[in-house]
Amino acid sequence: SQQGEEDPQALSIQEGENATMNCSYKTSINNLQWYRQNSGRGLVHLILIRSNEREKHSGRLRVTLDTSKKSSSLLITASRAADTASYFCATRGRNDYKLSFGAGTTVTVRA
C-alpha cells in the first residue's frame, strides 16, 4: 500500500520564489528520502533524512522530519526553471528493505 502522500499534488511558482511541499506517512520509519523526476526521466535521489534527525540541508534544499506527526517537508529556496520536476518522498520502514513512494508533487517554476 502507498506509504507516503505528498501535498500539494501540484505547485506553480515564479523563478526566485521558494517552493515547499509536504509528505505524510503512516508507519514508523528508518529513514525518509526525497527524489526528483524530470519529465520522461528516471528518479534522482536528492536527500536522505534518518528517523533520529530533524533537519538536513543540501545546497538550496532543506528537509525537515517530524516523526511525532509522521511528516516531512522539502523546501527549495530561490527556485530556478531547472527545478521544474516532480518530487517524491519515499520511506523505508524499520524492518524493511523496500522504499514506499508517494504519488509526488509536480512543481512548475515559471521564468
Partner: protein, 114 residues
C-alpha cells in the same frame, strides 16, 4: 558512463504478447529493483533481488517474472500482456544494507499495450 541502463526505452506491443525488459547496473551494487509507475505517477515496487536472490515480491500477477543472471543484471519478463500493463517500468539499484542506501534509477521503459 550510464550507471543504470534499461532496454528498450520504448515498447509498443499487442495484447497477449510476451515481452522482456533488460536492466544492467555498473555501480557494483548488490540489490536491484523493478518499479511500475502508472499514469498518475504513482511508483510501486514490484520485485527486488539481493545478490541474485529474490527478497521482495509484492503482489504482482504471475505473468511477471524477474530473472537475475548475476548481481549486475535484473530482467523482467511479462507473459500474456494486458492493457493494464501499460506503464513506465523503472529499474533501480542500491547498496543495502548501508548508510548510503539511496537508490539509483534507470531511465525507464515506456510500455504501451494495444
Amino acid at each position: 558512463d550510464t550507471a543504470v541502463s534499461q532496454t528498450p526505452k520504448y515498447l509498443v506491443t499487442q495484447m497477449g504478447n510476451d515481452k522482456s525488459i533488460k536492466c544492467e547496473q555498473n555501480l557494483g551494487h548488490d540489490t536491484m529493483y523493478w518499479y511500475k509507475q502508472d499514469s498518475k505517477k504513482f511508483l510501486k515496487i514490484m520485485f527486488s533481488y539481493n545478490n541474485k536472490e529474490l527478497i521482495i515480491n509484492e503482489t504482482v500477477p504471475n505473468r511477471f517474472s524477474p530473472k537475475s543472471p548475476d548481481k549486475a543484471h535484473l530482467n523482467l519478463h511479462i507473459n500474456s500482456l494486458e492493457l493494464g500493463d501499460s506503464a513506465v517500468y523503472f529499474c533501480a539499484s542500491s547498496q543495502v544494507p548501508s548508510r548510503r542506501e539511496t537508490q539509483y534509477f534507470g531511465p525507464g521503459t515506456r510500455l504501451l499495450v494495444l
